[in-house]
């Protein structure tokens, strides 16, 4: 922290969160273990950094309402994220939380140059997933014309995009790409649309994917970040400078290394977040499992505070191939930098004998297809070499026909790990 006064304000905010979580028996017990009985026991950021981390496992142990800090009559909404195994994790919101969230999202959209002049088509899923409703309330607070179409039903998306004069599309990057492809197929020309910006998140994506989407849709793409355990989308978002995602002041970020020690500014590690001024579901040092870096400063858009880099990878997405850590986003980066193939891919991991084998399936691009097998083999080995340069492991690249890799209307599923189960 650069300034004393801001540090003091931050500490007060964190103390309030500690005070709030001390009302929850589970946190109370964990804090008592290290001798913290009241918020006043935290007198500095160093004190704060000694507090225990919270993980998704803690949320599961307290399923469904064990970590709520308010009685049920004050809670007006629930969201939940699907667990890959067993029960989902459930979060609650008071009316104050809902309004705070909407304001935070509206601020983010405003910094992206979006206003009440815009028509925002929200193609994130609505429901227990926070994506749709999170963007929805923020868009309304902004005063934009909000189209709650939700995910899927692609032909209808295209029709309304034309008929309503949609200017901003909000969805996952993989769905944005699918919509772009569907527009091409339907023969809808760019000038029949008023689309100018896209707000994309809920899955890690690369800079190459951004260029691809921007090029195909003819828009400016903004990265939005969030997770339901913290609040939902809007925890951080890019402004028009596109120099990382500004973290809203209601979230205190830390970056920790694998041992849980703080990383110096600019060093990549796991993002850990503490909520400030959130009522129903305060989180204390929540491990997001997202890998990124942080820096503190001012931006020309008016934001002052922490800015994070785009999330390059999720700890949970990491594949260990013959002992080497590989992230799907690295493969995406490699594929997009080579060209000649479509930005759709599927990773299939198998154990052959005692060795892990990673097969990367990627679609041949019909515009660059040439008739000679030799050329196809050259393309295949270019992709393979690039992946090996970036990840350090040897892979098998398999060229497949266009549209043969399943398209996603929400979060894309890009890994098939046959070693499991």
């Amino acid at each position: 922290m650069k300034m004393k006064q801001e540090e003091k304000r931050l500490l007060q905010g964190l103390q309030k969160t500690v005070e709030r979580v001390l009302n929850i028996p589970y946190y109370q017990g964990r804090l008592a273990d290290i001798g913290i009985k009241q918020a006043g026991d935290i007198q500095s950021l160093e004190d704060f950094q000694r507090l225990p981390l919270t993980s998704k496992e803690d949320l599961r142990l307290n399923y469904p309402f064990g970590l709520f800090a308010e009685p049920q009559e004050k809670i007006v909404r629930l969201h939940a994220s699907s667990g890959t195994t067993g029960k989902p994790t459930v979060v609650g919101y008071t009316q104050h939380d809902i309004e705070l969230w909407a304001d935070i999202v509206a601020d983010g959209l405003r910094r992206a140059g979006i206003s009440n002049q815009d028509v925002i088509q929200i193609a994130y899923g609505y429901g227990l997933f926070t994506g749709g409703m999170g963007l929805h309330y923020g868009s309304e607070v902004l005063g934009a014309l909000t189209v709650p179409i939700s995910g899927g039903n692609t032909q209808r998306q295209l029709m309304l995009m034309q008929d309503f004069g949609t200017t901003v599309l909000a969805c996952t990057p993989s769905y944005a790409l699918f919509l772009a492809e569907s527009l091409e197929e339907a023969g809808i020309a760019r000038n029949e649309l008023r689309l100018r910006k896209g707000v994309f998140g809920a899955e890690p994506w690369t800079e190459g994917m951004r260029e691809e989407i921007e090029h195909r849709l003819g828009i400016e793409a903004y990265d939005i970040y969030g997770l339901s355990e913290i609040m939902g989308p809007g925890v951080s978002m890019e402004c028009s400078e596109h120099h990382g995602l500004h973290i809203d002041e209601h979230f205190y970020p830390e970056i920790l290394d694998e041992q849980g020690n703080p990383c110096p500014e600019g060093v990549k590690g796991e993002l850990v977040i503490t909520s400030i001024n959130k009522e129903a579901f305060p989180v204390l040092r929540y491990r997001t499992k997202d890998l990124t870096t942080l820096r503190y400063g001012n931006c020309s858009c008016g934001h002052t505070g922490w800015t994070m880099d785009r999330v390059s990878a999720r700890v949970d997405d990491m594949l260990i191939i013959r002992g080497v850590n590989v992230f799907p986003s690295q493969i995406e980066e490699a594929i997009l930098s080579v060209g000649g193939v479509e930005p759709h891919y599927m990773l299939v991991v198998e154990r052959v004998g005692s060795l892990d084998q990673l097969e990367v399936q990627v679609e041949v691009n019909s515009r660059s297809f040439v008739d000679e097998v030799r050329e196809l083999e050259a393309l295949q080995s270019r992709v393979q070499r690039r992946i090996e340069e970036i990840t350090g492991i040897s892979v098998r690249v398999r060229l497949v026909e266009p549209k043969s890799i399943p398209r996603s209307e929400g979060k894309a599923k890009r890994v098939l790990d046959k070693r499991k189960g």
């Binding site: 008739d371 000679e372 097998v373 060229l399």
Partner: protein, 131 residues
């Protein structure tokens, strides 16, 4: 003239699927060849109205390319093909690949040739009066 080159994954029944589609589209395949690797192959066919067929296949999500090729009638005697190829090589023509077929009406053997350089081939064809 142009041949159709179609990218195909080496999956079971894929080739039959394409051939069935061509039948549905009422396309008469005059010549055919398949170059393949373990994972995929390129199906090359000579048909009437190649542009129209290519478009119909693209609509159905096939990766299709129109590739310029030359069709030569081969003299019906021992060493006929070798003779033609030697003449072409002497004119600097580099053959990428070729495949033979027999025209139904006259049962004459013909070859489809893909060359590296179209201009060199055109000049050779004219000079050797093969066209």
């Amino acid at each position: 003239m142009f041949q159709l080159s179609i990218f195909l994954e080496n999956t079971k029944g894929r080739l039959a699927e394409v051939l069935n589609l061509l039948t549905q589209l009422n396309v008469n395949i005059r010549a055919l060849s398949l170059a393949d690797t373990k994972d995929y192959g390129v199906l090359r066919i000579v048909v009437d109205e190649p542009e129209k067929v290519a478009e119909a296949m693209r609509v159905r999500e096939y990766v299709v390319n129109l590739t310029p090729v030359w069709v030569l009638r081969v003299p019906d005697r021992v060493g006929g093909l070798a003779g033609v190829l030697t003449q072409l090589a002497d004119e600097g023509v580099v053959v990428e690949y070729m495949y033979a077929f027999v025209e139904k009406e006259n049962e004459k053997a013909q070859v489809v040739i893909r060359v590296q350089n179209e201009q060199v081939m055109a000049a050779a064809m004219q000079k050797l009066a093969l066209a």
